[in-house]
Symmetry: D3
Subunit: 124 residues, 6 copies
């Protein structure tokens, strides 16, 4: 019933494959402003913000087309929301926020003032 | 679990009927900033934004008191959230976003910096 | 060198005259979010906010096409910035903020997320 | 399915107990920007905003360390979200928004641009 | 004394040359949210917004490292503010906003929630 | 003609002396979101943001009533804008941003969503 949300941002280059993406097939980039909402009773906001910054640093100032793990994938905003979710979830399971059980996690990426995407899933 | 949200705005005049509305019973107006959140795995953000703009163009620069469809209805912010939802849902069912099944849709209308309303429902 | 800014909003209906205004020639409306920046050393923010609210209440929930003072004028965003400026300046000169001399005043009206207008002038 | 949200803010001093809070153990303070989301079909936004302002006035300009009711409690952002929720829920049950049944209420407190917390619960 | 501001955004990839730029020497990218403030009495906001969109389309979805005009230049945020300014100024002089004389122009680029840059100059 | 702005925040407790301040005479607090605008041609945004964070850390999580330097002063928002300006200016003169001459500096403190204050002065 309680949740805390922390926010940070990262800046990347990438290109998308497929005619549906129009001019976004060209190498371009984005500032992604990320909001991570963790659902649980008592959480340390400072620690959660540090964790988010740590995870986003893995993406910051990167060309995602050259990240081996993303080879062959379209790094759309919704895909990246899922990837940030996966990395945060893994760290939480490894104890990065202590022994507290997090019920679920929502990761939202703001791409520009008129478009954003999110991924929401329980943390099993 | 995935969602994308697109945002656009429209500007209308209207008046509300009923003493409970106080000075809003007078002809006045609003800029409504709309956020439409579509819940599904892979969606084309650009196409969704175009769809939202198309639907909002039906309201933009209108006096809602003179829209036949709204005769006898109070066009409150929450009512309008429902109306935008209805129109977006219909277009999605007609294939405006392709053959992809959208699980649910939330439409939020920001009326001013301290008040907004939303309508959230599955897309059957 | 010092300034304080206070913000409030009002919601009006109006229509604009002239082909250049396109669909805005129809009766429509806007939520105007107003920022009033007063330039002087020591000012009481609470009192300034009260003054702004008082002045904006004269416009709130009005159809500007029916305001006698604006007959024959196009109530564009920049025109309204000037009108709010004029009213605030007059009240300041009448002592609404005490005997303090305000050097200058900037009034900014946000019309929607992608357009705003301002009027800036000394308070003689 | 419908909801309305109203927003207001309050400014308090407090200190937190426990090494985990680091420098927040010192007497400091915060501007909390509150968003209260009420879920129900037809609600009066103006009345809801008035109710929120009334409840937040109980906290505004206070040193929470000296509020008897909070003695021995850490007034973290998530705790305060719960407290605002409790007070709003009680007023709603007492009829502050009329005889309308509110299904649920979410209270969100923004602590700074990169951290916020919320409490969400049904209104039984 | 009057001004209007219009806002739009573009998304680019680029890399910066020089140890001072740290990780920004790698190919990365940004969403730039642009605000163009035009200072003159009566301006058509819609036309100004169209002009800004036209100019930003020249940058949108580009890898600035491959733009011939920028060869050998570091496309920092402040540099890009100057470039957008130059292009807008040229179009205004060519009559894109009609025969109205614009006194000055300020172009601001928001790079992320905690950093932005601007270029402000008279339009001779 | 060029400027860069960096933003960060701090959270403090304080009380104000004088009947004019009403309930703000009680011990309360604020989250101050600070924007520092430095006017000069080519500036390193990252370095400027680090400098701002360093200066704001001197205030963060403090009770300003107990800061010796502020004894006998009302730490109003505009006063604090001046104090942050003074500290940034001193560091810039000492070379914190390299040998580059900064023409002027504007420091703005957002106190809540409807009120902020600024101090603007040349850096001699």
């Amino acid at each position: 019933m309680y949740s805390i949300t922390v926010s940070h941002h990262f800046m990347i280059a990438h290109s998308l494959v497929g005619a549906v993406f129009g001019p976004a097939q060209q190498m371009h980039g984005a500032t992604y402003v990320v909001e991570a909402e963790l659902r649980r009773d008592t959480l340390d906001i400072g620690r959660a913000l540090d964790l988010l910054k740590t995870v986003l640093a893995e993406f910051d100032y990167r060309n995602l087309d050259e990240v081996a793990e993303f080879r062959g994938r379209n790094t759309t905003t919704e895909f990246l929301a899922g990837e940030v979710h996966k990395r945060l979830a893994q760290r939480v399971r490894e104890g990065a926020l202590g022994s507290q059980a997090i019920a679920s996690l929502r990761v939202l990426l703001r791409e520009n003032p008129v478009a954003w995407a999110a991924y929401d899933a329980p943390l099993g």
